[in-house]
Amino acid sequence: MKQAILLSVNDNVATVLERVGEGEEIQVKGVSQVETIVAKDEIPSGHKVAVRDIRKRERIIKYDNKIGVATADISTGQHVHVQNVVSERTEINEGGERA
């Protein structure tokens, strides 16, 4: 089975260690007990997958720290990347407001 690493129990994303196809199962390992989720998108090697549902404007947490803000609702198993996350510190939303 494909594998992903979760770096902290508070993280809502994990890093997949190889390319995962849509519909494939991913074993999430690391700091918590091993759990299995199903990929809802194709996820390239080294990219992030949501390990729980994330609402629009909710923070993305990795390394037990905030790494950005969701610009759309993201469900468990979806690819989390530049298409649905912006930097809270340096990026501006399409509407011109700070994320």
Partner: protein
């Protein structure tokens, strides 16, 4: 006492290399400087495109970087190559280097023209290399090592393995009272709360905040662009994005680990010399690799630890650059450029501590004279961070 064999300089500093440096004061003399250096194996050149039509902080930064590059302990002697009409004074460069007790000579192109300047310069450098070769390595304490920590071409693996391993080396050297420089201001944005905790001094925090704000202000001006048909953030590279990094904060949290848990004892300007106190120094540099490495080398770094996810050939003309990757594919594809593969950590086949000790051992071997792959391949990069508009 744990030791290595280095070159003890007259000011008490210790080099791990014994280069003769050919130093152009300005872009206009860089070609002649390169040709002098290429005529004399054993010499190195710090070729750059600054030195004139610069004002204020920009001029000061170039001048400071050139002086401190020449004063790096890896340098035994210096030939300054001037043009004659430039803003950075070649006479002053030579005098300052000499006043620090380092042999330095000057050749001015406007006195002779290209051909004779190359001939005269070559004759001087030839003698300097011969003289420098008489200096022997001596047993010196590990506390005399100054490491510069850099990352470039980062991807998901950098924050999971290569940067934490470099952090282990920082911790090991700090225990031995050595000094470590962490740079790339941009790549500390989003991780500053973790660095503030390690600063005892309020003025240090204020200077660090100001450094960060300059990079944030620049980032906000141009937050995204379309590159290769994809809408990507501008403050991380398209390669970072392809490699799985999404935001600057994510990159920073992975990057700041290179400084380990070492207490922060100083916040330095670009190219400013670190103090004698052991510990971690933060230096204000861009994330642009060669400019960042040049700043740290001017600050005194004698060995650079450079992590890369996607791979890069980068080296430096003054200091050996050890390249480290946590990406298995990169270790395979760019094996000729990578000195240390720590991808085993990601797959749980090796612990961070085990890998850190192996890397520290490699650092000592390089400090004792073993060549890095960038040195073997002649990768003599050098570039000064330019912070103003040239007139």
């Amino acid at each position: 006492m744990e030791t290595f064999k280095g070159y003890l300089r007259s000011d008490g500093s210790v080099g791990v290399r014994n280069h003769v440096l050919v130093l152009p004061s300005v872009l206009c003399s860089a070609n002649v400087a390169r040709r002098i250096s290429s005529a004399v194996p054993g010499s190195v050149v710090a070729s750059h495109n600054q030195g004139c039509a610069q004002l204020g902080d920009d001029y000061k930064q170039t001048r400071r970087t050139l002086i401190n590059t020449a004063l790096n302990p890896n340098i035994a002697a210096v030939l300054v190559v001037g043009l004659g009409c430039e803003r950075v004074s070649p006479h002053e460069l030579r005098d300052i280097i000499q006043n620090h007790g380092k042999p330095a000579e000057l050749i001015m192109i406007q006195d002779y023209g290209t051909v004779e300047a190359i001939e005269r310069g070559t004759a001087i450098v030839k003698d300097m290399v011969k003289e420098a070769s008489r200096i022997e390595r001596k047993e010196v304490p590990l506390s005399s090592l100054i490491l510069g920590m850099e990352c470039g071409g980062s991807d998901f693996s950098s924050g999971l393995s290569a940067n934490p391993v470099v952090g282990q080396v920082a911790d090991i050297l700090a225990q031995k009272k050595g000094r470590v420089i962490l740079s790339e201001t941009t790549e500390l944005v989003g991780a500053e709360h973790l660095l503030f905790e390690r600063m005892s001094d309020e003025s240090m925090k204020q200077r660090f905040t100001k450094m960060l704000q300059r990079m944030i202000d620049e980032s906000v001006k141009n937050s995204r662009d379309v590159v290769d048909k994809e809408n990507v953030p501008n403050n991380i590279s398209p390669g970072n994005v392809r490699g799985g990094l999404t935001t600057l904060e994510e990159k920073s949290l992975g990057a700041m680990i290179k400084g380990g848990k070492v207490p922060i004892v100083g916040v330095k300007e670009y190219g400013e010399t670190v103090d004698s106190e052991p510990g971690l120094y933060l230096m204000d540099t861009p994330g642009y690799d060669v400019e960042s490495v040049t700043g740290m080398v001017a600050g005194g770094a004698t060995v650079v630890l450079f992590t890369t996810g996607q791979g890069t050939p980068t080296g430096h003309s003054i200091a050996p650059v050890i390249k480290i990757t946590g990406n298995q594919e990169t270790a395979k594809k760019m094996g000729e450029n990578i000195d240390f593969d720590c991808s085993a950590i990601i797959y749980g086949e090796e612990t961070l501590e085990e890998s850190g000790e192996k890397l520290f051992d490699l650092v000592l071997r390089v400090a004792n004279g073993e060549l890095t792959k960038a040195e073997v391949l002649g990768q003599d990069d050098y570039s000064i961070w330019n912070v103003g508009i040239k007139l």
